[in-house]
Symmetry: C2
Subunit: 205 residues, 2 copies
């Protein structure tokens, strides 16, 4: 479990290890000793760098949130036609999440554990996703008559669901459908194009 490249600072090694453990086990299930072991260091050293479990968790959680949410904003707020926006969202977002497939479930899970904390800590002003513009854009297209009369909220939910859920339910899908790691990756790769096609087919007139 230990790999200590001399190029990395101890703090980086700890953060990597903590991320690995927290993301898989969650705040409640993670053990400080496990993180120390994973980092190849002493437990006391862990507390030397990060005063306590909560502090360490906060860093990891914020890091994870920062990896997932701002991306959404940038795409939704972009100045782009609706269909292109949907395409680039799927392309980029699936790309990001394929790099860390366990992040979405981790974040969703911890939000569920304490939604208020999340609201305050993560979205205190800056990176708060603002889907209003995207919803507005959908409504515009409806009025222009370029797409069917769809409820923007449901369209947004559909887009996010189809993009994110397969990663959240990954082990379930794999065990149930007998899908290997490679096959899963391939399927997700396909979904970058499949989802936009599916959505556009559903809403275009």
């Amino acid at each position: 479990m230990v790999k200590k490249k001399k190029e990395q600072t101890t703090e980086q090694v700890i953060l990597e290890a903590a991320k690995k453990v927290f993301v898989v086990k969650g705040m409640a299930g993670a053990r400080m000793q496990d993180i120390a072991d994973e980092a190849g260091i002493n437990k006391a050293l862990l507390h030397y760098y990060f005063r306590n479990k909560e502090k360490l968790f906060e860093v990891i959680f914020m890091q994870a949130a920062a990896e997932l949410f701002p991306k959404i904003n940038k795409i939704f707020d972009a100045d782009q036609p609706l269909f292109e926006k949907i395409e680039s969202f799927c392309e980029e977002y699936i790309g990001v999440v394929m790099g860390s497939p366990y992040l979405p479930l981790f974040v969703i899970n911890e939000i569920n554990q304490d939604p208020e904390y999340f609201l305050k800590k993560v979205w205190s002003g800056k990176s708060k996703p603002n889907p209003a513009k995207f919803l507005e854009q959908i409504e515009q297209e409806v009025k222009k008559g370029t797409i069917k009369r769809v409820n923007p909220l449901h369209l947004l939910m559909n887009l996010l669901s189809m993009t994110i859920f397969p990663f959240v339910a990954k082990p379930m899908f794999q065990k149930n459908l007998g899908i290997s790691e490679a096959q899963f990756r391939e399927a997700m790769e396909q979904r970058k194009k499949e989802i936009p096609k599916f959505i556009i087919d559903a809403i275009k007139k």
Copy 2:
């Protein structure tokens, strides 16, 4: 926290309390003392009825799985035209989950924690979902030319994603979009019709 109707047996009271606590906190986060308190009993009595935490958890988890999975089977295996099947799946499944909105995340989460255990314990023969028939049916429709050339796997994923994910990400959606409990319920009620319409629009020729 305590409500002890004399009609209920102690075991039932314990199971209800355990479900409440486990579903919200997860196996790792749940405390036996919390469950005892919630049930209004002594911690020792908890161990009298269920030898240990693992055993109690197993009962709750199996119960939760039994509440979620067999439903899927019955609908997917039914003898019904594809479009109707999609409609009745959304209608019934959203109905079920609205009754216990936290179950899906709980189950998904614990499956993630140990996929092998899940495979053995929950799907040992009987209630194992078998989407093969549903996938086959889609392929038939494609060959008949009644729907577009869609990849059945992706269609299945899309259906499940759109149906289940909003419940999994419920607090996130609520906090982000400023949706009240009532509004959420209303939106989910709409989705019973919205999702089938969306899917059918996407795939019908």
